[in-house]
């Protein structure tokens, strides 16, 4: 089966300082997204490289090694009309809608430009088309047409941003923390929309978040990132309910659930590590080794390989024996 999107050993090194000390923000990430409507969550804490990865997929950053293939074509080598084709097929929604729109421009101008320039809709038909798409996100053209970004609430403006992305009839939408600025009671309405668009229009989503509860709720697959690497990838029900990687396990135990019954287990005393985080980025072996309760000598020396366990991929030496 052909893949919609494929990442092969993508690495991005950010350098700073006089001597070009570099650290790998994204380190050898390989992922594939099948060509069917599904939602893949890329989850991780701040600094895990998930946003950098999103920006690489969108073509904003060029990886230092590895490649990103969209429908078999390298997104960093596209030229001429292909760039426009890629922009039509792959759209983005970002965390802060107020910084996605110029505060001095009416948001309608963005919608109009996207419709005419990228979606190639005839100018005379543009308004009707924009209205239809705005209705899909619970707004309408007359509620939007004369307004500047600050005249919308955060939830409304994020809806406008999503409508703008939908205008090009994309196959894939990359949503980078699209709801983390919004209140919990409004969050669910936005993620429900993603689910609906996946089913109704066959759009695939890459949902980037640190919030595993909404990730579980909407996604089919999940990839957990730690210090630039994907440490576990598989169906969301399996990864989050029976996590294999020690990091995913710790993460799942630590999430405060809105469920007072889970309190006793959650309050079981944990020890905080005193590890200097920067060192983990340049560690020779597994980046999680210094925090991992199961770490052996090998973990500190050799970076773990991707190991297939059932329909999951785990980057951990604990599972190397199971591979046959």
């Amino acid at each position: 089966m052909s893949n919609l999107l494929e990442l092969r050993g993508v690495t991005k090194i950010f350098r700073y300082g006089l001597f070009g000390f570099g650290f790998k923000a994204v380190d050898g990430v390989s992922l594939a997204l099948e060509d069917k409507p599904l939602i893949l969550t890329i989850a991780g804490e701040s600094g895990s490289g998930k946003t950098t990865l999103a920006r690489i997929i969108l073509g904003f950053h060029v990886p230092d090694s590895g490649e990103v293939l969209y429908k078999g074509r390298n997104v960093h080598r596209l030229q001429g009309d292909d760039v426009k084709w890629f922009r039509r097929e792959v759209q983005a929604v970002f965390q802060d809608p107020y910084s996605s729109f110029n505060p001095l421009r009416k948001v309608y101008s963005y919608l109009h430009e996207t419709a005419v320039n990228i979606a190639s809709v005839d100018k005379r038909e543009a308004d009707g088309y924009i209205d239809t798409v705005l209705k899909a996100v619970g707004l309408s053209l007359d509620k939007v047409i004369n307004k500047y970004p600050h005249e919308f609430s955060g939830g409304e403006l994020q809806r406008v941003a999503i409508a703008r992305a939908l205008l090009t009839r994309p196959r894939l939408i990359i949503a980078d923390e699209p709801v983390s600025m919004l209140d919990a009671s409004l969050r669910i309405n936005i993620v429900n929309m993603f689910k609906e668009f996946k089913e109704r229009y066959g759009i695939a989503f890459i949902y980037i978040t640190h919030d595993l509860s909404t990730a579980y709720y909407i996604s089919d697959e999940i990839a957990i990132m730690y210090r630039g690497s994907v440490v576990e990838h598989g169906p969301v029900e399996k990864v989050l309910i029976e996590p294999l990687h020690p990091y995913t396990q710790t993460l799942m135990e630590s999430i405060p659930m809105p469920e007072p019954k889970a309190r006793e287990r959650w309050l079981k005393k944990i020890k905080l590590s005193g590890v200097i985080e920067e060192k983990e980025f340049i560690a020779g072996g597994c980046k999680y080794a210094s925090r991992c309760p199961y770490a052996s000598k090998k973990c500190f020396e050799k970076p773990p390989q991707d190991i297939a366990v059932g329909d999951r991929v785990v980057k951990c030496w604990l599972y190397s024996e199971q591979k046959t």
């Binding site: 429900n192 509860s213 007072p260 020890k271």
Partner: protein, 326 residues
């Protein structure tokens, strides 16, 4: 009022002045009544802009323009008597209450340390001001007790990770064993593993000394994990107060119901629905119940009159006309 009430908030009204001449203000805290008891962990829940941080600041007595208290009182019980922070002068608050009786962990705690002062000087400053002897060795032992090496005392803030700085600020707040600690979003910017550790630290301290911890956060998960009681705020009003387990199990106010029902839970993919609309502009809040424009059960009276804050069951308070027996 029982002897075990350590903070007694009565009819508190706090506003942010926007334009003093024309009298425009943001009505951030509107007629709040709340009793905080000794030995409890009280949560203040609500979404951005609901007034929870403003309430926290007023409880601590940290009121600077444009924030202004229009009405009401906040009475804090210390060993040597009761003090209304609203009428106390800054010097009195500092001398009688702050650090010793009540301490405050602000939002973004990791960024409040002085960048040009070593960590040890932060501790010495607090100890000196409160005229106890400033013994660095003792501070080192204290830090080790909460899992920080004594080497951090010689470090400057920028040499420590965000998580460590956060723990230092918490350590400072707990240094003089205050009987009340107010923590405003103490773990919002940290990862979940560290969050668990930090909250465990706060709860442990509270339990050991039978002190009072007031935790302000929008994260309902945190309330479920550590608070005994929770007060839910909406648009400047406390709309519901109750035992945490009761509030989660059977929320009474339509806003609390909407909030709790909108939270997805891992292991449950059933469809959830959020609240419609968005919170009101507090420069011009809606008449009657401030939630009525978004409430699925809104009645005529809700649009006209503000609902009273009543005790519907023992220790269970709600401000909603649905629960007023007529």
């Amino acid at each position: 009022m029982g002897e075990d009430v350590v903070i007694d908030v009565r009819g508190l009204d706090a506003v942010y002045d926007v334009d003093v001449e024309s009298g425009v203000y943001v009505h951030a805290v509107d007629d709040v009544n709340l009793q905080v008891r000794r030995g409890e962990v009280l949560g203040i829940a609500g979404e951005s802009g609901c007034g929870k941080s403003t309430l926290a600041r007023v409880l601590y007595g940290f009121v600077n323009p444009p924030l202004r208290v229009r009405r009401g009182s906040v009475v804090i019980s210390a060993d040597d008597g009761k003090y209304d922070v609203v009428s106390l002068s800054l010097d009195e608050r500092r001398a009688r209450l702050w650090w010793k009786v009540i301490s405050y962990i602000p939002q973004n705690a990791m960024n409040v340390l002085n960048p040009v002062e070593r960590i040890r000087d932060h501790f010495i400053e607090v100890l000196k001001y409160h005229s106890s002897k400033a013994d660095v060795e003792e501070v080192a032992r204290y830090l080790e007790g909460i899992g920080l090496k004594k080497e951090v005392l010689n470090a400057y803030p920028h040499q420590l990770s965000g998580g460590m700085r956060q723990r230092i600020v918490i350590a400072l707040a707990l240094l003089l064993n205050p009987r009340i600690v107010i923590a405003d979003e103490p773990t919002t910017a940290v990862d979940v593993v560290l969050q668990r550790g930090i909250l465990q630290l706060l709860v442990e301290f509270q339990k050991r000394l039978n002190n009072t911890l007031v935790v302000i956060t929008h994260d309902m998960g945190v309330h479920a994990m550590i608070t005994n009681r929770v007060a839910v705020m909406y648009a400047g009003n406390v709309v519901e107060v109750g035992e945490t387990s009761a509030v989660f199990e059977k929320p009474l106010h339509p806003y609390t119901q909407g909030l709790i029902n909108s939270l997805p839970r891992i292991g449950d993919k059933s469809t959830r629905v959020g609240l419609a609309g968005s919170p009101p502009d507090l420069r011009n809040p809606p008449p009657g119940c401030r939630f009525h424009p978004r409430c699925p059960f809104a009645m005529d009276i809700c649009r006209r009159e503000k609902p009273p804050f009543i005790e519907v069951e023992k220790s269970r308070f709600v401000a909603c006309w649905l629960h007023v027996k007529r």
